[in-house]
């Protein structure tokens, strides 16, 4: 996904959370991003630095948890991690699948202080 778009979307939630909790200085932002989004960590970092300039989040650490792509086979119920972009059940070869994880773009938490 478009890294700038993610950061801009996240920022709205970050600022709201900081305001609601009276946080004046944000020290860390934790994100959970599914691997199907094909996000490039360095680009996300650059985007974050650019967008956070002169805001409460300037200088904050950006921590990203990359969530693996896990699918569940609708035919036999097997859950498996997708490797090599292969979306077929390793047990029964079925391709009717349900997404268990891998598409997330979640703001997990915001850390900061009331300075």
């Amino acid at each position: 996904m478009h890294e700038f778009g993610i950061i801009e979307g996240i920022f709205k939630i970050i600022e709201k959370t900081a305001d609601e909790n009276k946080i004046t200085k944000i020290s860390k932002v934790k994100l959970k991003i599914g691997q199907m989004r094909q996000v490039i960590p360095e680009m996300l970092q650059s985007a974050f630095e650019a967008v956070s300039k002169n805001t409460k989040a300037m200088g904050a650490a950006l921590e990203i948890e990359h969530v693996p792509i896990i699918m569940k086979c609708k035919e036999c119920g097997r859950e498996f991690v997708v490797k090599n972009d292969t979306y077929t059940c390793p047990d029964c070869g079925g391709f009717k699948l349900e997404v268990i994880s891998g598409q997330e773009v979640v703001l997990e938490s915001v850390e900061g202080e009331r300075v």
């Binding site: 979307g9 939630i13 009717k96 773009v105 703001l107």
Partner: protein, 216 residues
């Protein structure tokens, strides 16, 4: 202190998309989201599809582009409602844009809405617009390796249209490999090999589309 948020960044877009979905269902309107690279043939496919369906279905088009109204102008000859959306640099349409576009349409007198998304294989697939189906459009001149590079689109799409099939002999495009690549990502994906300019292979696409329309 750490404040747990656990909010999806896409939540706002998805909530709105769901509302759009419910609205269109209540009006018995089927909406398609055409996604493909610049130059793949989205507008050409729309032209042919409109020609095939316009006698039997009341159609409207939401035309998304970064700039210009060139695509919208090409569709004007069919005399149907066209809502032009310029994103001014944005690389995809989102549900807010569609919601505003729908306000300009007479939903009580429509059966079918086609969205032509911005030419881009990455971002458009990630934004739910409240459509019934996403259609992925590629062309043979872009290479047979594209599916693996854009897994999100190929998992989300309901069908793939491979355009410019008449040019395969002038390229390195490996048809079997392409189909294999698509089916590895999504084993139940219908693939339509067409040439919009030569009007080849389109009947299978029209038939599939009509079956989908009547199902809903």
């Amino acid at each position: 202190m750490e404040i747990k948020v656990m909010k999806s960044v896409l939540e706002a877009n998805e909530d709105r998309a769901q509302q759009i979905r419910e609205l269109l269902k209540s009006k018995n309107i089927y909406m398609l989201n055409f996604i493909g690279s610049p130059g793949a043939g989205k507008t050409s496919l729309l032209e042919k599809t409109i020609e095939s369906l316009k006698e039997r279905f009341r159609i409207a088009v939401i035309e998304g582009d970064v700039a210009t109204d060139k695509d919208a102008k090409r569709l004007q000859k069919y005399d149907l409602p066209i809502i032009m959306v310029n994103t001014d640099g944005g690389c995809h349409l989102d549900s807010m844009t569609i919601e505003k576009a729908l306000e300009q349409l007479d939903l009580d007198n429509l059966d079918l809405i086609f969205i032509e998304n911005v030419g881009n294989l990455v971002c458009p697939a990630e934004f739910d617009l409240g459509e019934n189906a996403k259609i992925a459009i590629l062309s043979t001149t872009e290479g047979d390796d594209k599916p693996a590079k854009y897994p999100f689109l190929f998992r989300e799409a309901s069908s793939v249209v491979l355009n410019k099939a008449d040019l395969i002999e002038y390229t390195n495009f490996d048809r079997k490999l392409f189909i294999e690549n698509v089916l590895t990502l999504n084993g139940q994906m219908p693939i339509f090999e067409v040439s919009c300019t030569k009007r080849n292979g389109l009947d299978d696409w029209y038939q599939w589309l009509e079956k989908e329309l009547l199902k809903n």
